[in-house]
Symmetry: none
Subunit: 301 residues, 2 copies
DNA sequence: CACGAAAACATTCAAATCATTCATTTTAAG
DNA sequence: CTTAAAATGAATGATTTGAATGTTTTCGTG
């Protein structure tokens, strides 16, 4: 589903002349593919990357295969979570989409959108539920909406080409799929070939996956721990397996209290998706540069 | 393995018009074989060479995803499930997508694609798992792939305009989201404004949802029953609430054995999604036509 | 084998895109 | 403020693309 756009379409979408856009293509600011007849074609993901990086205002989002945006041009992230809560509980999917995609088009890092809007919104919904101001079904329905938005967002990312591989999952009994899907998107944005295995996966099966795929990273979003001691034992066992294959074990999630963490072995812990992004970028640099240096010894920091 | 492709197939694969592709053939950019009747046939390797040489972005990767299949034969639904299983376990998302979308574009009803390809494929994966031929993580990963395909499919549907409203869910403890999502798509295809509440919803909250939204239908996909007597009691309670508001309660799913069903109260039971579709269409006609006829009394069947 | 629907053919034509040039606007430096 | 450099966007004629047309071929089915 790799949509291609003509220079005219992209030019119209960002409100700029066709001439300029073609010049930018030729300068390499936008990578294009060419038809056999020599016409330029721009992959949507590439157009979106350009828009986000150059901070261009998108005049016609529909031309970029994006859902229509809110005209309020809410490019500021501050009050978005509050609005998101209202629109989620009101079952207003379009408005929710608009909030997220406006921020995305405005160039906000996905990690920040997730931390400061989506995660926050669901925390607020959780609090509302505790105060009996929201029903369970409303929370679940909101999850469905968010899931669809995440899918949409994922499909708009530049597909990973030949990056490092990361596998991700949630532990057995943990059914919260939103956080682990957000992690996947963040890792892909950071240049990783992140592959989500799914929710509720036994530790033994995770170990099998590591042995069979030999990823550079294995990440775990932990939103709920059904059995604390089993979790600790399982994760430490997993860390053993991963260590032997040079797989970094990264953990995060609201269920990981300080108390639990002290009894765990892992390569990195991330409090937020922003942390995850930072860590992923660092690890990528190290891992990619590292091997090249082996045959040319240098002193290390 | 000298598979031949028609110009249309190659054109679709690289996202250009048939006209252009044929022109390129005639210009010699693609060498073709001709049938006795003068139709162009393009060898797969020639198409691949062209794609690589032109540095062309593959829009519809069917060509690369399933180099061994002929489109006409691929559209026959019989062997799709078997191929689907292989591609799912091989983590080959594009090939899976190709299978489903080929059928969809060929005009197969979604209900049939789901019953005879996706559901069947997962049943086969389940059997493989029982024989220790597949890992848990592979099954979960396959679920993720299927979820993404369903999302894609859903986004391709014409959004429901002003149809009758249906709410759907799975019961508390039942985390199988694939069947309930397929139901949603089927209902939407049948003209309903189907809204999936989500997975694992307590009966009390379902009742709240019915009271607040007053849908014409409430459907339940039951793939797993954690507590049989609680389920029976809960559903019968739900049926009471629904009856008062003229909401039809429709149930289905592999966990509903005959034994359980005899103790349940419901408006309809559907063994397959095909049944669901049929029932939804019937109910829609009745419900839409019904009110208009009230002032013109007739004898009923 | 014959039939009929779906696919492919050749051809035409309007619309889109190309490379290039040039006037105008914006930016930056003096 | 002036001026030069850089960026933008409109205009040009040639080329490419894709949709539409009516006819012919292919292929599964009876």
């Amino acid at each position: 589903m790799n949509q291609l756009l003509s220079p005219r379409q992209v030019a119209a979408a960002i409100g700029v002349s066709e001439s300029s856009l073609k010049r930018w293509c030729d300068q390499g600011l936008l990578s294009t593919v060419k038809t056999a007849g020599g016409h330029r074609r721009i992959p949507v993901q590439e157009a979106l990357r350009f828009v986000r990086e150059q901070n261009y205002a998108v005049v016609e989002p529909r031309l970029l295969a994006m859902p229509g945006t809110d005209n309020r041009k809410a490019r500021r992230i501050e009050n978005c979570a509050q609005r998101m809560v209202e629109e989620l509980l009101g079952n207003n999917e379009q408005a929710c989409q608009a909030i997220v995609f406006d921020l995305f088009l405005a160039g906000q890092p996905v990690s920040q959108i997730f931390d400061e809007v989506i995660s926050l919104a669901f925390r607020m919904i959780g609090e509302k539920w505790e105060r009996h101001e929201a029903e369970v079904y409303q929370e679940r329905c909101s999850c469905q909406i968010a899931l669809r938005i995440l899918h949409e967002l994922r499909s708009k990312q530049t597909p990973p080409d030949s990056g490092l591989v990361a596998l991700g999952a949630t532990i057995e009994g943990d059914q919260y799929s939103l956080p682990v899907m957000m992690s996947e998107i963040v890792l892909r944005a950071a240049g990783w070939d992140a592959r989500l295995l799914g929710s509720s996966i036994p530790f033994d099966s995770m170990a099998k996956a590591i042995q069979q795929h030999k990823p550079e990273m294995f990440w775990l979003s932990v939103s709920f721990v059904p059995d604390e001691s089993a979790f600790i034992a399982g994760l430490n066992r997993l860390f053993e397996v991963a260590s032997k294959l040079n797989t970094a074990v990264v953990i995060g999630g609201r269920a990981l209290t300080t108390e639990i963490r002290t009894r765990l072995r892992y390569s990195a812990f991330c409090d937020t998706l922003r942390h995850l992004e930072e860590f992923a970028k660092t690890l990528r640099r190290r891992t990619e540069v590292g091997p090249k240096k082996t045959h040319k010894p240098r002193k290390k920091g």
